[in-house]
Each structure stands twice: as structure tokens, then as C-alpha cells.
Symmetry: C2
Subunit: 119 residues, 2 copies
Amino acid sequence: MASRTATALVHPDRDHLRFTAVLAALSDPVRLAIVARLSDVEPDGELACTTFALPVSKSTQSGHFKVLRESGVIRQRDDGTRRLNRLRRDDLDARFPGLLDLAIPQGREVVAGWGRGSS
Amino acid sequence: MASRTATALVHPDRDHLRFTAVLAALSDPVRLAIVARLSDVEPDGELACTTFALPVSKSTQSGHFKVLRESGVIRQRDDGTRRLNRLRRDDLDARFPGLLDLAIPQGREVVAGWGRGSS
DNA sequence: ACCTCATGTTCGATGTTTCCGAACATAACA
DNA sequence: TGTTATGTTCGGAAACATCGAACATGAGGT
């Protein structure tokens, strides 16, 4: 799917980012892992949803990406059958400076924890 | 209430603070308002739960304070019939530098919004 | 001692969110 | 056209949030 002919992807613009929504988005281990991984391919890298090996079901992943997009943490665009994800670093740094730099190492920790066995 | 003869108040210590738990705690407007207000009386001020004029019921407030305490954002101690709250500034700054300084202005925004009528 | 008030917590009910598997939709490619 | 790859949506179960009502504890007056 992707490319919903009718419904376009909704992204809040920079000055409408809500702090509580961004924090809520970043308060989940899975989403934190996604953010950390996206930060590895900054600034121009984009990753399809499948390329994150996440320990949750496909439908749950879909929900997580939706939360990240609607809170303004990531930007998504459709490319054929894939949905590409990019970190909204500049917008986040402008509105909440330091937050992303705090979150990214924590996301790496989460991923490392998965590697070492569940914790 | 307060002074639970048996059950002591549980507080995670500094090196057991979990980033996701702290972020989840700070991702709620009511709790953000509590944090902002506590920051006004730093470093040694303590405020009883009642002194926050919060737009939610008493039982809900109780729950919010519990979340803040168990995530490690605040420290609570009983004084007679009151439960006094203090911001864990040093621990939070040590583990997640900059986070509190980001959250506090946002908490003030929330309170200001309540003043201007609901938004 | 006793009553009453102030301050919080706990309980039960109701409504919202999250998660999963299953089914579906769209695009790419043979 | 099929077939495969990639995501989304749907329906139900489990977890969480909020409220009012009831409860518990301590302080202070009489």
C-alpha cells in the first residue's frame, strides 16, 4: 500500500510541534530504537519501515510509525510500495534543543539491550 | 493517609532512573505543570499536593504524583497529614542533562494556557 | 477523650489506548 | 495477469486513565 491516493500523510509543521506529544512519542523503547537508527543515516538518509528489525508485530510497527509522524519526530514519504522515514532533526533541534541528543543514545541502549537478550 | 505505617514511599535511586519512564512522566500536561511549579521553589522548597491548583479530580492528582515519584522525577515525604513534594533536580541533571530545563518552560506554558481559558 | 476538618489514598465503574493476528490494499515485477 | 513485497485497517482482548465515593490518618479545638 503506501501511496493513499486520497489521504495524504499529515505532518505537523515546526511551530505546531507539541512538547507533550513529542515526549510521549519518545517515551517508548521501540520508537526510541527507530529514532536512534534513523540518526545513523542523517542527514539525508531514509529508511523503509521494514529495515528496522523490531520485536513487535507488523501492525504494531505501523502504529509506532504513525505516532512518530503525527508527533513530528519523523517525516514519511511514499516511494512506490515503500514508506520512507527520515528524522526531523532540524525542526526538533529548533523547538526542543538537546532533546534528540538526549534520546538517541538511549535508543541505542535499547537496541543493545535487545542484542544482549531481552531486558 | 500520608504516613503509611507499613508501606514506605518507593523512590528509584539515581542510577536506576529509566529514560522512558521519565519521559512518559513528563509527557502529560498536568504533571508538567507540577514540575514547573516545583522548580519555582528550588532547591529546598517543598510543596504539598493541595497547593497545586490542578484541573483534575483529587484521585487523579494522587495518581499523577505517584507516576512522578515512581519515575524518579520528584521525591515525596510525609509530614503529618501532608505529603510534601520536591523536584529531584540533581539526579535528573546528572542522568539526563538539559531535560528538566527543557520541560520547565513547557510546564509554565501549560499553566499559562489554563489561565487564559482552556486550550 | 471526642468530634471535626484537612489531606491524601484506595476502590469500582466507565471510557480510552495499545497490541496482536487476520484480512485487505497498492505498487513492482515477471 | 499472477505473484511478491510492503504497509494499513479491522475486531477483540488486555492495559491504562479518570472520576466520584468511601476510607484512613493526623491536627486542633472543645
